[in-house]
């Protein structure tokens, strides 16, 4: 990639949905497949300008978090031995967010194709919601109950063992 290209970009600028600009170095940006694709393509075209990548779905505060994650993981990219330390960091990183932030972060990770962050967030959310009640789930995901009481009771009766 870099060796075959006629130019090499060391940094890119990423624009959040609320029009803030972030300067990101290439190694960090490469953690996101979306940004990496953009960089690779521009390099192939031989652009020497600094490129600006608009992310119309990601707000600045969420983008800050994604980039924080990418920075940490870029540091560890060549190094498998520190896996345990990185796992610990991942866990501490996610622990401090509420559900709304986690959801936005997950969606940003999905949008920016940061597979490892997406997996991490999904597993973290799954682990924290698996023992919740139906009512709690509706609250967290802001879902309206569209069953009639009878329908809901029927579903519950059908699999009563899962509701204990």
């Amino acid at each position: 990639m870099a060796s075959s290209s006629s130019s090499s970009l060391s940094r890119v600028v990423v624009k959040s949905s609320d029009n803030n600009l972030f300067v990101v170095n290439k190694k960090v940006a490469s953690q996101s497949q979306l940004l990496k694709q953009c960089i690779d393509n521009m390099e192939e075209k031989g652009t020497n300008d600094v490129i600006l990548i608009p992310l119309s779905n990601v707000t600045s505060n969420i983008l800050t978090l994604v980039l924080e994650y990418c920075e940490k993981h870029a540091d560890f990219a060549d190094d498998d031995n520190n896996n345990q330390e990185l796992k610990q960091w991942d866990h501490e990183f996610l622990k401090k967010f509420d559900y709304a932030t986690l959801n936005s972060l997950t969606m940003a990770a999905d949008y920016m194709v940061t597979k490892s962050l997406l997996n991490l967030c999904c597993q973290f959310i799954a682990d924290s919601i698996k023992d919740l009640t139906v009512q709690q789930i509706r609250q967290i995901f802001d879902i309206k109950n569209d069953f009639t009481p009878q329908e809901e009771a029927d579903i519950k009766n059908e699999n009563a063992w899962a509701f204990r």
Binding site: L52, S56, K130, E151
Partner: protein, 548 residues
């Protein structure tokens, strides 16, 4: 992080996403224009596919959308793949079988805590069971075969103790079982082969990905025939297939079939037969897609007392075989490279046991450095079967302290619905496809009918002592079909059922009989609401019987 103020915009080359992305990544550009809701869906599926089955079943009642999503076959396969790729999580379960009481204990793989205990036989003398098994039935030869995508094939011989002198009372029962969703599906009676009480019967269960169908194969190794009985779940029927392999080619009648193991697309057994005074072995494999049996020699030196097949976590196409040394101080692990008469095995590992450690006569499971061994010494009479765990790293031995037979199965929970596979085989499917949901639901309806029919048969038997003729048990099928077309989900279907309490209309009963049957209508109704549940044992269970 360096945040720049907006006035600096003009200094950079602005990137237009759609123009620079290659065609295979164009969807990324599109995603920036879709509304947040659709994106959320994508992420929602990712999150839900990481949940245990019990949580998902509970969450079916969050809203209608979640219900249709969780019940869709596409989600079931996405969930299974996500969970089985997720190492070190609680998705891996272990099931042990205890034959005498016919009870099944399900452990959480990670910490060996007990999740559930199931029992087939009703504890009391209840007259009706949803599997038509009574308290006084003699149940023997229970085998659990699989897993395949989280499903198990269970087979046992059932005999009515009150009729033990009547030769026809014994019956071979075949069930498909998803322990995670507790769905149980009884296969139709095996039509052309009586394997009741036979030790030469071979059972296999697997998935044919060419026709997207689950298949069950049954053969009798003592018969000089190449015909096997093959059940297709998509068609829900048995047929006879010439598998191109004769069992008795110069081999004695003392043939035994053991070690049923499923490997991606192939079901394997070890066949043992007598040559003079010696016992000889070979590997027999059934190809689920091509429906043929293949014979493969076992590695040199493997004997019936020293070797067996190991269950694999991944659906590797080729089986793994363990073989104890003569002195039983070490175990060789062989992996097959190619099926067929050449028998191309590679020795992948050699495990030397620590001094003073003896392992029982059969290895049941090998997972992540832990061997699950049946420690019963076959030479000591009355010695009980017991599962022992041997940690290969620490060389420690622990007992699972659960009575268990020779069979122990590791599996990953899945949402796969057995009933939904029945008509699914040839159809392409999509989320919330109304047509399909209809056909699925109507099938579930039929299942309930079939079970009701069995209840009726049983009740009839109780009353009269004779088996009813087939035509005496016709239900109102057309009526039921109409009913099912008007609704889209089984939960509602069962609700609607209550308005159709005429399942016995076609049979002419005496007044006594009607009174008797009326009494059980409530029970039948109750059971039709939980048609797939094995009886769960609600007894206090000591937690964590064994930890390393």
């Amino acid at each position: 992080l360096l945040v720049l103020p907006p006035p600096l915009f003009s200094r950079f080359t602005n990137v237009d996403l759609p123009s620079i992305l290659p065609s295979n990544l164009l969807f990324l550009a599109k995603m920036s224009t879709v509304n947040g809701m659709e994106l959320q869906d994508d992420v929602l599926i990712e999150i839900l596919s990481r949940l245990p089955v019990t949580s998902l079943i509970r969450f079916t009642c969050v809203c209608k959308y979640w219900l249709s999503l969780i019940k869709s076959p596409e989600f079931a396969s996405k969930h299974y793949i996500t969970r089985s790729n997720n190492h070190g999580k609680d998705d891996d379960s272990i099931l042990t079988v205890f034959n005498p009481g016919l009870s099944f204990t399900i452990f959480c793989y990670e910490d060996l805590s007990i999740k559930t205990v199931f029992k087939i036989r009703p504890a009391t003398n209840e007259p009706v069971s949803n599997l038509s098994i009574c308290h006084h039935d003699v149940i023997s030869r229970c085998l659990v075969i699989g897993p395949c995508n989280g499903l198990l094939l269970m087979t046992f011989t059932k005999a009515d103790r009150t009729k033990q002198f009547d030769g026809g009372a014994a019956e071979t029962v075949l069930l498909l079982w998803n322990p995670a969703t507790r769905e149980v599906f009884k296969l139709p009676q095996l039509p052309h082969l009586d394997v009741t009480g036979s030790s030469c019967a071979g059972y296999g269960f697997g998935f044919d990905d060419t026709s997207n169908d689950y298949k069950v194969v049954v053969f009798d190794a003592s018969q000089n025939s190449s015909i096997v009985q093959l059940y297709s779940l998509a068609a829900n029927s048995w047929r006879q297939v010439d598998a191109g392999f004769g069992f008795c080619l110069g081999r004695g009648p003392e043939t035994s079939v053991s070690n049923p193991t499923y490997n991606g697309g192939m079901h394997n057994w070890i066949i043992c037969y007598a040559v003079g005074y010696d016992l000889s072995l070979f590997l027999l494999s059934f190809d689920m897609a091509n429906e043929v049996l293949v014979e493969t020699p076992v590695p040199d030196g493997a004997t019936v007392f020293s070797c067996g097949l190991l269950q694999q976590r991944s659906n590797n196409k080729y089986p793994t075989l363990y073989d104890f040394d003569d002195a039983r101080t070490g175990i060789s692990i062989w992996v097959l490279n190619q099926y067929g008469p050449t028998g191309d095995w590679t020795k992948q590992h050699y495990i030397s046991l620590a001094e003073g450690i003896t392992l029982g006569y059969k290895i049941l499971l090998w997972k992540e450095g832990i061997l699950y061994v049946n420690d019963r010494d076959p030479d000591i009479l009355g010695n009980e079967d017991e599962i022992t765990l041997y940690n290969l790293r620490t060389h420690q031995k622990k007992s699972l302290r659960i009575p268990a037979d020779r069979r122990i199965v590791g599996y990953t929970e899945s949402l796969v619905s057995i009933a939904k596979c029945v008509r699914q085989g040839q159809q392409s499917s999509a989320y919330a496809d109304d047509q399909q949901q209809n056909s699925n639901s109507s099938f579930e309806m039929k299942l309930i009918q079939q079970q009701q029919k069995e209840h009726q048969e049983y009740l009839y038997l109780l009353n009269t002592g004779v088996h009813p003729r087939e035509d005496e048990l016709i239900l109102h099928e057309e009526e039921e079909e109409d009913d099912s077309n008007s609704s889209t989900d089984s939960a509602y279907l069962r609700h609607n059922r209550r308005n159709h309490q005429e399942p016995l209309g076609c049979v002419e009963y005496t007044e006594d009989e009607i009174e008797y049957l009326d009494k059980y209508n409530d029970e039948i109704e109750r059971l039709s609401k939980l048609p797939y549940c094995l009886r769960e044992v609600n007894q206090p269970i000591s937690s964590n019987p064994c930890t390393f």
